[in-house]
């Protein structure tokens, strides 16, 4: 069918029915630092590999507090990611202003998904960043991944960035429902180490269902 010669606008569906700009953005995310999230009923943990650009330069912090009960990390272009983090923080406060209560995780993930989705409709550059959200609300702990397509997924294990396929495979292999926080951290460390083939510098963020509060551990 496809000869590679068709002329279509880059932000429209291609002949295979795919949005190539979205796929390019996802390709860019795959070059970011390896980032994972693990959830059990007792906690949500996010961990990210931190890479200083070169010697004598401080690395970017990769764990962000969104609100008291939510934290986020991600992979991809850091400036795109920072913009999405800002959006998450604004959405959380906007919800607090109108409802007087903390935002629930589903709504937060959906709002970010909708924000990114707008970019997929027009001829603009999509944010090349996947976000992993960890948080707790009335209904317990949650872990979400939000992609450049605007898709958001809820689950108990996610990995994005460099060698994320391999990382995810290792996490799924090591995952049990009764994982402790320490065991989960070890799993994240060993997973990222195996994925990037070096002893990584890691940052963590944690929400425990008992407190419902997000803590940065960097």
């Amino acid at each position: 069918m496809s000869t590679g010669q068709e002329r279509y606008q880059p932000f429209f569906y291609g002949p295979e029915g795919r949005l190539i700009q979205v796929e390019y953005a996802q390709e860019a995310v795959g070059k970011g630092s390896t980032t994972v999230g693990i959830r059990t009923d007792n906690f949500s943990l996010i961990g990210s590999h931190v890479r200083p650009p070169r010697e004598l330069v401080d690395p970017y912090d990769k764990i962000f507090e969104i609100d008291e009960h939510v934290g986020a990390t991600g992979s991809g272009y850091i400036s795109d990611m920072l913009r999405l983090i800002d959006e998450l923080r604004i959405e959380s406060q906007q919800y607090r202003l109108t409802m007087g209560t903390p935002i629930d995780m589903f709504t937060l993930a959906k709002r970010l998904g909708q924000y990114i989705h707008e970019y997929t409709l027009y001829s603009v550059r999509l944010p090349a960043s996947s976000i992993i959200l960890a948080g707790a609300d009335k209904r317990g702990t949650h872990l979400y991944q939000v992609d450049p397509s605007g898709t958001f997924l809820r689950g108990s294990a996610f990995a994005v960035g460099r060698n994320s396929d391999k990382a995810l495979e290792l996490i799924i292999k090591g995952y049990t429902r009764d994982l402790t926080v320490d065991k989960a951290k070890d799993l994240v460390s060993s997973t990222i180490e195996a994925a990037v083939n070096e002893k990584p510098l890691l940052q963590f963020g944690l929400v425990e269902s008992q407190t419902g509060k997000f803590k940065r551990e960097v």
């Binding site: 109108t98 409802m99 629930d104 589903f106 009335k138 209904r139």
Partner: protein
């Protein structure tokens, strides 16, 4: 021109109202509804401009439905009150105030009672009264309400408070309406 009363206790909340709607010195209706169920465990008693009050009740019902569909669980009584207060506040700030006051009562994790007004201010209360008969109702509430009372006793206090107001306030009368909300639902 109204008397509405709300009282909170351990086992639930009670709302009571008269049934008179006035147009100046004329009794416009003897069967006015002033207590509105928002859902099985949330209700509001209104005072003031009926059209404004009913509009805000309908608006909050719609907003609550959309929120529940989006996030998957019902708004709490406080969130419900906040939504009404938001509309009231923006009305006030745009020189088109909603001329109504609300007592919002219900049970979520526990019995809750809030009052909100034209300014959009929210105050949590254990007992509260609104409307022209409220000073009279408050006389009864202040002298008879005790925090050791159960839901039955509290219901009796609410009835007496509205009855007293109906006797002496020309803006209130024509019968009593009571809604009791407990963990089993509302009646």
């Amino acid at each position: 021109m109204t008397t509405v009363v709300g009282i909170k206790t351990q086992g639930g909340v009670v709302l009571a109202s008269d049934k008179r709607a006035s147009k100046g010195f004329f009794i416009a209706s003897k069967e006015a509804q002033k207590i509105f169920k928002i859902d099985e465990f949330t209700a509001s008693a209104i005072a003031g401009q009926v059209s404004d009050a009913e509009y805000l009740v309908h608006l909050v019902q719609a907003q609550r439905r959309l929120i529940e569909l989006e996030r998957g669980y019902k708004p709490s009584v406080f969130e419900t009150t906040r939504l009404i207060a938001n509309s009231a506040y923006s009305g006030l700030r745009n020189y088109a105030p909603f001329l109504a006051e609300f007592i919002v009562a219900g049970i979520d994790t526990e019995p809750r009672l809030y009052s909100t007004d034209v300014s959009g201010a929210i105050s949590p209360e254990t007992f509260v009264s609104n409307g022209s008969g409220s000073p009279i109702a408050y006389g009864v509430l202040e002298s008879t309400y005790k925090d050791t009372m159960d839901i039955k006793q509290v219901e009796a206090v609410a009835r007496e408070a509205v009855k007293a107001a109906m006797q002496r306030d020309p803006g209130s009368g024509d019968g009593l309406e009571v809604l009791v909300i407990t963990a089993g639902g509302s009646r």
